[in-house]
Symmetry: C2
Subunit: 221 residues, 2 copies
């Protein structure tokens, strides 16, 4: 009788899962937390999602008021989180920290773009940042720039380069993975496989310390 598969329970957890519990939906939200994205950008980042599923999931997110379709420049349309959609942030933070318990599978898969790790890095940094910390750091990973804005201990990572950073870390996805797997340390990364530029003096040490601790929280097995 054309009934969708919903839990139809009064429990708020079930109500939440009826909106964001479907396959792919939380990963779409994950990517949208790194800033507005176009359809093809999302599709590229979600290795292997079928176009029709992405269409359907985005449609449901819009319908439920968690995302909206914006008209960007040059007639391109962008999907962005609404205020309500932003409130999935804590859930994704927790999932990222919980998922660190499990060893990743075998082969390294090209993630398509860096959106998939943006919120994870933000979660890990926020976990270890002191409540008073404020800094703007730029990451350039495989030539893709992203900005980590830490404001009074709250961390947000956004794809692009909107704000002038106090520090820039340039490295590769694979090298960063090696760090997150504990194969090399943050110090070795900076020494051998990355470039760290201080645009303002005195941020390098604090940044390095934060990142070391942050990445350690992603791998507490």
């Amino acid at each position: 009788m054309a009934k969708p598969r919903t839990y139809k329970l009064l429990c708020p957890i079930a109500r939440a899962l009826d909106r964001i519990g479907d396959r792919w939906t939380l990963l779409i939200l994950r990517d949208l937390h790194a800033g507005p994205a176009r359809f093809s950008e999302l599709q590229r980042g979600l290795t292997g999602i079928a176009a029709n599923l992405l269409t359907e999931r985005l449609g449901k997110l819009v319908e439920d008021g968690l995302a909206e379709k914006q008209n960007g420049a040059h007639g391109v349309s962008l999907y962005a989180l609404t205020d309500q959609g932003q409130r999935t942030r804590d859930i994704l933070f927790d999932l990222a920290l919980f998922g660190g318990m499990f060893a990743p599978g075998g082969e390294v898969i090209d993630p398509g773009n860096m959106r998939s790790i943006a919120i994870t890095l933000a979660a890990a940094c926020e976990r270890v940042a002191s409540p008073s910390l404020t800094m703007t750091a730029q990451f350039v990973i495989d030539r893709e720039p992203m900005i980590l804005a830490v404001t009074n201990g709250k961390a947000v990572m956004t794809i692009g380069s909107n704000e002038p950073p106090e520090i820039t870390l340039t490295t590769s996805y694979e090298a960063l993975l090696a760090v997150s797997e504990g194969e090399i340390g943050m110090d070795e990364l900076i020494a051998n496989q990355a470039t760290l530029i201080e645009h303002k003096a005195g941020y390098a040490q604090e940044f390095g310390q934060m990142m070391s601790q942050a990445i350690a929280t992603l791998n507490d097995r």
Copy 2:
């Protein structure tokens, strides 16, 4: 090729969802957070889950080290969270608070047992409890007892009656729903549709205040 539907991505959120992202799994964990449960108890609480799915999900949770099968008294077997499984707590807390944004569906469905609301009540109480608060409260909802243990601001709700409470609130599921929907206030609940017993003097006011605020956070639309 017998490949299960996993994301196979390095992102820890994807790794997390590969363990707990399947349909029903998070709801099973929700119920297990209220204490060890037998198969039939879980099945009754998860209105409509097919037995084979519950079997499969439990098997995967055990395989992934998130739950374990215990041998209880009289040869009954119990499923319980492992330490790793306990770490889904924050995720469920956030889901409960996020899900409060959405209005529940039409019909009131008998939840089968009270496990489904245990972690939600704990989440709401912890959200509003001061970091120094410690108290033990008993809820008896539709004759089912559960214990809310708040320790230094951390809240855990467990089915049963293991600890002597300082206060007992006896009421019905429907009345509690009416409060959570804002139809009646906590004070009206206590006055008309519930019994509040202080086993130690002086806890009633603090308890009532906490519950009012807690339930308000479950309904911030």
